[in-house]
């Protein structure tokens, strides 16, 4: 009996079937006993006929009886659920073909250690074991392998697993590296689905999903996307592929601290103090205490600081101030400004969680954050003084000049109204026009273009300004630079009466200092000011008014206008202390400095990219070569050629091209090198960080899931079961064939019965 067990699940059923063979025999015998009696006259004819047919009838009866007995036996066999061991199937020459499609999770979370090795290495070992086993057995196996980090580029397509090819395959599996990317199960499984559907040439597709079963990967992020959730797609696959296995190759460790963000809070300018905030998220279940963070710029001596505690699921931020120092003496004094203006210096800022013995952090690779600090060597600004004086205290811009103090990184140039006509605007990021009311139309035109290209202009009209001239030059019925139209000077020149400024928009980036009650601007007296007009149709569209006066009109004290990529800010009073006490107030320099930062704008926001993202920048062909190279964190270099920014326009004159590198697969710093026409290399630094969510190592609780979460036919296996499972592959069960045979036999029995029994 025991040998039967190696063939079938319920051998007892086969025995029952064998016993049931007697049933048709008994029925046959009983039938023999049941007959009619006819007294017949024409016996001679009957005997004559019988003599001719006797043997045939007997044979027919035997055939029918045999078929019925066989049917009973097959019924027993069917209920016994027999299976053929795969080696036997091979020996019988019925080697089956299997199309084995694997999806392997090579996302960052697979780097979690299992013992001393990353989980991904363990997964590779399992795949290699499977390949070795498949190479040995008699079946024809074909392997297709998708990685979740690059679903559209299968690593192997329909590779035959034969003893000869096995070594090559094993070597290729060995070469696989765990990526820093997220697991894109939805895309990978969609690829598998279309692959399995398109390739029907092999009878037995087998789908393996080697996953670490992270909740975040498998559960649809939003309810609207529920149809495309990975497990739904897998469910669809398993409907057409009965052999669908989810293989758990992940680590069970879930404690993880992640640097989710590194960013500069201030404008990145050399020689100014920049605050870097580093965010740490605890994805574990327990509070992490005394989390040390090592902050380092380039290869310099790191700074270490500690966060007292990060609660589970919480994010804590630590701020590191840093001063990028540039020794200005290095630069040739004549070219000094020229070089500073256009050169960005790249600093590699990294923040890393200090791994000491106490830190419970099972995934180290997301415990480091990168920031490419593309730092301006200096921030050149121009202050145009319409009322200069040899006595510096009496010049219009006397107070304003002090924003270029050391530590701010600003490089302040001064000019008179006459000199404004000739300076090169492109050198400057911000220009102050103090008490200036006229400029040549060409200059106004070029100023407008300069603002539209991203410059920041501040207009501070004072007592030297003639309203009509100002309006004609800068306001132009609202089409010019200034958001405000000057009407007339108002106030008390004797300084016996005054108004205050009221901050309308305290959230304005330039007015953050006014949030502080102690140093607020509420008590700054304003003795004289310009009555101004504003075009109502522009308000809240391109023009905003963050500060108003407390005079009866509540007329604007500061107005801002957006023009192209740049902005223009007009104050309703002068820059010096003639009209107001503000320049002597501590908030004055702070507001001006924040205003400069604000006008310089968004330089800092584009530096951080996530793994899988892209790095791009504009290439001005008048300055740079078309060929651009990119060096990745592993020092591998790729080259590409810049493409026209707008290929459809196909304008021959356009010199502005774009270069773009997609699919940045590694975390760390990428350096894009542009070659100037003059031959020197200009590097641009990009930082690529891992997706912060990938650090969420919470696993699906397979036991708590609904039974058909992965589809009714899929099975969840442990890594150990992967190799064993194949031995008793369900498709070796032969009950469908037995059922088919039974149906054929019953059909044949009916057909023959009818054939033999028809009247003849």
């Amino acid at each position: 009996m025991s040998w039967l067990l190696t063939w079938m699940f319920n051998p007892a059923m086969l025995v029952a079937g064998a016993a049931a063979i007697s049933v048709p025999i008994v029925i046959h015998l009983l039938n023999k006993r049941r007959f009619r009696i006819v007294d017949w006259a024409a016996m001679d004819f009957l005997f004559d006929a019988d003599k001719k047919n006797r043997r045939r009838i007997r044979l027919e009866n035997l055939i029918l009886l045999a078929l019925r007995c066989l049917a009973m036996l097959l019924l027993g066999l069917l209920l016994a659920r027999p299976f053929l061991p795969s080696e036997l199937a091979g020996r019988l020459g019925q080697a089956q073909e299997f199309q084995r499609v694997m999806v392997v999770d090579d996302s960052l979370s697979q780097r979690v250690l299992m013992g001393s090795r990353p989980a991904f290495d363990e997964a590779k070992d399992r795949i290699k074991q499977l390949i070795q086993m498949l190479a040995r057995d008699q079946n024809a196996d074909y392997l297709t392998l998708f990685l979740t980090s690059q679903p559209d580029k299968p690593v192997m397509v329909n590779e035959a697993i034969t003893p000869d090819a096995a070594d090559n395959l094993l070597a290729r599996i060995d070469e696989l590296q765990c990526s820093d990317n997220v697991a894109q199960y939805d895309e990978a499984l969609a690829e598998v689905r279309s692959y399995v559907e398109s390739d029907r040439s092999t009878a037995n597709p087998v789908v393996y999903v080697l996953t670490d079963l992270r909740q975040r990967d498998w559960q649809a992020p939003t309810s609207s996307d529920a149809e495309n959730a990975p497990h739904k797609i897998l469910s669809e696959i398993s409907n057409s592929v009965p052999n669908t296995f989810i293989v758990d190759v992940g680590s069970v460790l879930e404690e993880n601290l992640v640097i989710t963000d590194v960013r500069a809070e201030d404008l990145l300018v050399a020689n100014s103090i920049v605050r870097f905030s580093v965010s740490v998220t605890n994805f574990g279940e327990r509070t992490a205490e005394n989390v040390g963070i090592r902050f380092r710029v380039d290869e310099l001596q790191p700074v270490t600081d500690q966060i007292a505690a990060v609660a589970p699921g919480q994010t804590e931020t630590l701020v590191f101030p840093y001063l990028f120092q540039i020794d200005r003496d290095e630069f040739d004094s004549l070219d000094f400004q020229e070089q500073l203006v256009n050169n960005l210096v790249n600093y590699r800022v990294t923040a890393e969680i200090v791994q000491d013995g106490k830190t419970r952090d099972h995934l180290k690779h997301d415990s480091i954050g990168y920031f490419a600090a593309r730092t301006l060597q200096a921030l050149p600004i121009l202050i145009v003084d319409g009322d200069p004086s040899v006595v510096s205290e009496r010049s219009e811009s006397y107070y304003l000049q002090s924003i270029g103090l050391p530590g701010t990184g600003l490089l302040v140039d001064s000019a008179t109204a006459g000199e404004l006509e000739t300076v090169s605007l492109s050198k400057y990021r911000v220009i102050f026009l103090c008490n200036v009311d006229e400029a040549s139309p060409d200059r106004v035109q070029s100023l407008q273009q300069w603002v539209a290209d991203g410059g920041g202009l501040v207009l501070m009209p004072g007592d030297r300004v003639r309203a009509t001239t100002f309006n004609e030059t800068f306001y132009k019925q609202g089409n010019g630079l200034s958001p405000l139209e000057l009407k007339r000077a108002d106030g008390d020149a004797t300084k016996n009466d005054w108004v205050f400024m009221e901050v309308i928009d305290p959230q304005h980036p330039a007015l953050r200092v006014t949030l502080d009650e102690d140093v607020g601007m509420g008590k700054v007296e304003l003795f004289s000011w310009w009555e101004t007009g504003i075009r109502e149709d522009q308000v809240d569209k391109v023009v905003s008014v963050p500060i108003r006066l407390s005079n009866p009109d509540n007329s604007p004290a500061m107005a801002e206008k957006t023009l192209g990529d740049g902005r223009v800010v007009t104050f309703a009073f002068s820059a010096d202390a003639d009209w107001t006490m503000w320049p002597a107030h501590p908030t004055y320099i702070c507001v001006m400095w924040d205003l400069v930062n604000y006008l310089v704008g968004d330089l800092t926001e584009m530096e951080t990219t996530r793994v899988g993202g892209s790095a791009s920048r504009l290439v001005d062909l008048s300055m740079y070569d078309l060929r651009v190279s990119l060096t990745d964190p592993a020092e591998e270099k790729v080259e590409t050629i810049a493409q026209p920014l707008d290929p459809t326009a196909a304008s021959q004159e356009s010199v502005l091209y774009q270069v773009r590198f997609d699919d940045l697969g590694r975390r760390g710093f990428y350096e894009m090198n542009l070659r100037r026409q003059t031959g020197e290399i200009e590097p641009t630094l990009f930082a690529v960080n891992v997706h912060p969510g990938e650090g969420d190592l919470k696993r699906l609780d397979v036991n708590a899931l609904p039974d058909d979460f992965f589809g009714p036919q899929s099975q969840v296996l442990t890594a150990d079961e992967l190799v064993q499972k194949n031995e008793s592959n369900t498709s070796n069960e032969i009950w469908p064939q037995v059922l088919l045979m039974l149906a054929v036999i019953l059909g044949a029995e009916q057909l023959l019965g009818w054939w033999f029994g028809r009247r003849r």
Partner: protein, 307 residues
């Protein structure tokens, strides 16, 4: 042609079966087709003109048609149909094989006896002498031909009383009978003819040699002609003690072939001896079958005489 155009015109064998008295049965049958026709072909079996023939020396002068002579000055002989004092002998098979059909109602023997009675009645109507011989493997009963009305009654009585028994064996009997029936006449054999065809041919030849006109009414039950059995059946021989347990469906084709073969042989035997062979299916109305045969016979005679 007076075949069974509409079945209800004739007597249903089942209806006839209910009539037990043979004389009534016979009358029903015969009157059935006689009244059913416009003109009875049997009205005057007596002296009947047939045709003229030119006189040739040696002919009997009595037969010269003087009226024709007076008109045409030529001598013609008047020819008549055979004048009868016809002696007819009905040979009825009383073997056991004739009992087939008893269980489902009318047996072959019933049908045969009714046929015999009808023929006797018919002959009697025409003042012909009818005799009856019932035989199996021996002569069971023998009545000499007579045209007396009481003779018919006696005959019918015998038919009513008869019960089939024993096997059919005609070789000796027919030899003896042929010797007994001296006068040339008509012999009507009513039987299922389950015999060796050679033996049958030989026996019938006995009568033909003595110049008797022989008519064979071949009685067959529809079961024997179509073999409609389906399920497992044990066939028991009526005459011999034989049994066969078989599936009739499987044998049907071969059986029907054998029957067909046999019928062909019988027809051939009869045709070669100039014997009328009439197949009577017991499922079909007897009067229809008889009238059809008789009208066929009349037509044939006319054709023969004309040539």
């Amino acid at each position: 042609m007076a075949t069974a155009a509409t079945p209800n015109k004739y007597l249903d064998p089942k209806v006839l079966d209910r009539v037990k008295r043979m004389d009534v049965r016979a009358r029903l049958v015969v009157e059935g087709f006689i009244t059913g026709q416009h003109r009875s072909p049997y009205n005057g079996f007596a002296v009947e003109f047939a045709t003229h023939r030119e006189y040739s020396p040696g002919d009997d002068l009595r037969h010269i048609d003087w009226k024709v002579w007076s008109k045409t000055d030529r001598l013609y002989i008047k020819e008549y149909e055979e004048e009868t004092n016809l002696k007819c002998t009905i040979l009825l098979d009383c073997s056991k094989s004739m009992r087939y059909g008893e269980k489902s109602g009318w047996s072959k023997f019933d049908y045969a006896a009714t046929t015999a009675a009808s023929m006797a009645y018919l002959m009697q109507q025409q003042q012909d002498a009818v005799g009856l011989v019932m035989f199996s493997n021996k002569i069971d009963k023998s009545l000499k031909p007579s045209s007396h009305p009481s003779h018919l009654k006696l005959m019918l009585h015998e038919l009513e009383q008869a019960a089939p028994d024993d096997q059919t064996d005609i070789s000796d009997i027919f030899q003896a009978l042929a010797g007994q029936i001296r006068q040339r006449g008509m012999v009507i054999l009513i039987s299922d003819l389950f015999l060796n065809p050679l033996q049958l041919a030989e026996s019938l030849q006995q009568f033909r040699l003595r110049r008797h006109e022989v008519i064979v009414f071949h009685i067959m039950h529809p079961d024997e002609l179509t073999f409609p059995f389906q399920e497992n059946t044990l066939f028991r021989g009526l005459e011999q003690d034989l049994k066969l347990h078989t599936e009739p469906r499987a044998l049907r084709d071969s059986y029907l072939q054998a029957v067909d073969q046999y019928m062909k042989q019988v027809r051939k035997v009869c045709a070669s001896s100039g014997i009328d062979h009439v197949l009577l299916d017991t499922a079909k109305p007897l009067d229809a079958a008889l009238s059809s045969y008789l009208s066929f016979r009349q037509k044939r005679r006319k054709v023969l005489l004309r040539h």
